[in-house]
Symmetry: C2
Subunit: 309 residues, 2 copies
């Protein structure tokens, strides 16, 4: 029987770790192929795009695309899944590059390295973010992603809905407006559902779209994606309040300094941990219909709330 | 017979003026529908998107989409054409919002009004530009734009190619890097072919894609679009050097102040005017196969080089 509870055992943690590493390497190789270095005067913006996307991160979003797609026997080979995985990582990278700008969060560090506008300059960072967004949609629309235009256009539409003013960017706007003002638990939940949740849920759904999921399967995957997205953000708040800068690879304690309303401020550290655990458990159960094929996704749900960076 | 020379007569100027006004109003109405006002904490980013897109401009790009689409009897009603027209105007508006930012061209005025970051703030302008780009792709991917997913995905792909690092954004990067350095005529032509030319050519091609153009028709339309794009930019340089701020609705003489290499600096005012005229004439001839149905597009080619604002 499949293990659908929310406690980790060492064996599944090792299996997840190996799976994460293998898929992260495949996503990295695909990004390197999809944003190739060029010569000529426009090289600088490409260099900045590569700087912002290559060499790092857990690739949670890309992992979700590829791992969910692998649940479906109908999926059209791994090529398309890794292209869609690279696409969502580009979209995510664009949002980080713009988020770090002086007019936004004004962050000098990202994954322990200078953020894009510190490594290059503000104008280049703005343009690189813009072009990463464009490239994310372009990659989805290319025939290599899936032979069926209906599938490709569904991916474009789902990514746009997740990342635009009614999704990720809307969440960033609320976040900017909420600074220095106390938000309720409902408001903070709404903010994060938009700001990070929509793109994480999209990542899971993209795998289901590529795999030709039926409506029930797609709804289960979406539900899983929604819950781990929420759990991820609560865990992030806990990390910001408890981890060191070295562990995070970015400035720690920024939320408190910016007087941001966080889950930790509203629920306390223990309360926030408990809430994240509940969401992870619900996410695991949403995958019951997939049996043990979905064990890595269940491991991921647990990992998301237990990680230290 | 169709008039394919490049001299204007008063009647065709009036016909073009009426056609521009009618289509601009339809594009405006579509933008108002596609970026509706919302309530809630994310309203500010939507307000900024509406501010940046509504109420203005010649809508050259949107006009091209709709007018080219109308050449084709097979086109799927005007709804789809105006949706694609609104989409390219959103894409164009996003590029202007980001271009005006302090870290880029640092422009306080746009169409005689405060630019978006002056009216709102920098963070909101960055986010509104980001979300306008997303919405441009989303609108193309929605079924209302065309019943055939192949057509929709072709539009997404063509827009991405025209506006990304190998198109518009690449041109902006070259433009930033070229400031204060003398560029050759070839370099300036390449810069503008990317920075403004690609999106204007796309606009014409989008009409052809929606209309189900055959390869020869699409090639002719692309050629027309390429030439009026180039003519438009040369005429823009001439305007920057000769028109008043009031006529332009934006800061005049900025190119010279920024020591930008322009067609006027390289060819002189008369030489630049002559080159723009030649391009407009060639653009007109590319439309020969369409007969007099394409007269408004020929009028537009002449208008582009003769306009005063």
């Amino acid at each position: 029987m499949t293990n659908s509870g929310a406690s980790t055992n060492p064996t599944s943690a090792e299996a997840l770790s190996a799976s994460l590493k293998q898929r992260a390497a495949a996503v990295e190789a695909m990004l390197d192929r999809l944003v190739p270095r060029v010569d000529g005067p426009e090289a600088r913006v490409i260099d900045a795009m590569r700087y912002a996307t290559l060499g790092g991160g857990k690739r949670l979003r890309g992992y979700l695309v590829a791992e969910v797609a692998s649940l479906f026997p109908e999926q059209n080979g791994e090529e398309g899944a890794y292209r869609a995985a690279a696409s969502v990582e580009m979209l995510h990278a664009y949002s980080l590059v713009h988020d770090d700008l002086p007019a936004m969060d004004d962050d000098d560090l990202r994954r322990g390295q200078p953020s894009a506008h510190r490594k290059f300059d503000e104008a280049t960072a703005i343009l690189a973010g813009d072009a990463l967004q464009t490239r994310a949609f372009e990659v989805l629309a290319e025939t290599e992603t899936h032979p069926d235009a209906v599938v490709r256009v569904q991916l474009v539409l789902a990514l746009a809905q997740a990342s635009g003013a009614a999704g990720m960017v809307g969440g960033q706007m609320i976040d900017m407006e909420g600074e220095g003002r106390a938000l309720s638990l409902k408001e903070v939940s709404h903010l994060h559902a938009l700001k990070t949740g929509c793109l994480i849920r999209y990542s899971a759904e993209a795998g289901a779209i590529l795999g030709g999921a039926n409506p029930e399967q797609r709804e289960r995957i979406a539900s899983y994606g929604r819950d781990i997205g929420a759990a991820f953000q609560i865990a992030d708040d806990v990390l910001d309040a408890t981890a060191t800068e070295e562990e995070l690879g970015k400035t720690a304690g920024k939320d408190q300094a910016a007087e941001k309303s966080t889950f930790v401020a509203l629920l306390g550290i223990d309360g926030a941990r408990k809430e994240a655990g509940k969401l992870a458990e619900r996410a695991c159960h949403a995958l019951d219909i997939f049996g043990e094929k979905a064990d890595r996704l269940r491991d991921l749900a647990r990992y998301v709330v237990e990680r230290r960076s």
